[in-house]
């Protein structure tokens, strides 16, 4: 663990801002993921019903 962190610190940071978020709940990412799932359902069932219509 330590070696890994040293490794990271050894790199010249690109443009790191100094602040870090301590309490972070990825609410937006959860919403994004839900949207992704809905899009997936639309595409998948779109083809599914197209398949059924061609039986």
């Amino acid at each position: 663990m330590e070696a890994y962190e040293q490794l990271s610190e050894a790199k010249p940071a690109l443009a790191d801002t100094s602040t870090t978020l301590e309490k972070f709940e990825p609410k937006g990412a959860i919403a994004f993921f839900a949207g992704l799932v809905i899009l997936g359902l639309i595409i998948w069932f779109g083809i599914y019903f197209l398949m059924l219509s061609r039986i």
Binding site: P26, A29, I30, F33, V37, G40, L41, W44, F45, Y48, M51, L52, R54, I55
Partner: protein, 159 residues
């Protein structure tokens, strides 16, 4: 305390649920509508002679042979409502056998027999397209199933 973040865990479970829903739908269509992938048959030389056989008024068998760059038979006449078994093979390279706007989508392969069954409920001309590259004439390789349209098959054509 669990090691992986709880949201990551929920994401994995949600993904699993979505995939389970897809799986259920696939099995449902397979069970209820008999919608399935091509059937697997052992090779037999009999299928290499192209022909259309009428089993009864609404059941037909087609032995389709793909070759560079045509299908035989190239025109297949069946009445509306018939159920047709397609047996497909190739005399040379790999060909495709895709009946447009129907779920008939097979590879035609030398020394192999592919089979699927489809029902034609509506009259019309159904194009069969070769969709695997099979050499310089590939783009001309098409046949058709004519279902009661525009008229009954001419009497001089073999059925």
């Amino acid at each position: 305390m669990s090691l992986i973040d709880k949201t990551e865990k929920r994401v994995m479970m949600a993904s699993g649920a979505v995939l389970a829903l897809f799986l259920f739908s696939v099995l449902y269509a397979k069970g209820k509508y008999k919608s399935d992938l091509p059937e697997c048959l052992p090779y037999s030389k009999a299928y290499e002679t192209p022909k259309v056989t009428k089993l009864d008024d609404s059941t037909y068998q087609v032995f389709a042979v793909a070759q560079m760059w045509q299908f035989q038979p190239s025109e297949i006449y069946v009445p509306v409502g018939s159920e047709v078994d397609f047996f497909v093979t190739s005399k040379d390279v790999v060909h495709g056998f895709n009946i447009l706007l129907k779920n008939v989508n097979m590879m035609a392969i030398y020394g192999n027999i592919n089979k699927t069954t489809v029902k034609f409920d509506k009259p019309g001309v159904y194009k069969i397209t070769c969709h695997e590259y099979c050499g310089v004439g590939h783009q001309n390789m098409q046949a058709q199933v004519i279902v009661n349209y525009p008229t009954e098959p001419p009497p001089n054509l073999p059925r």
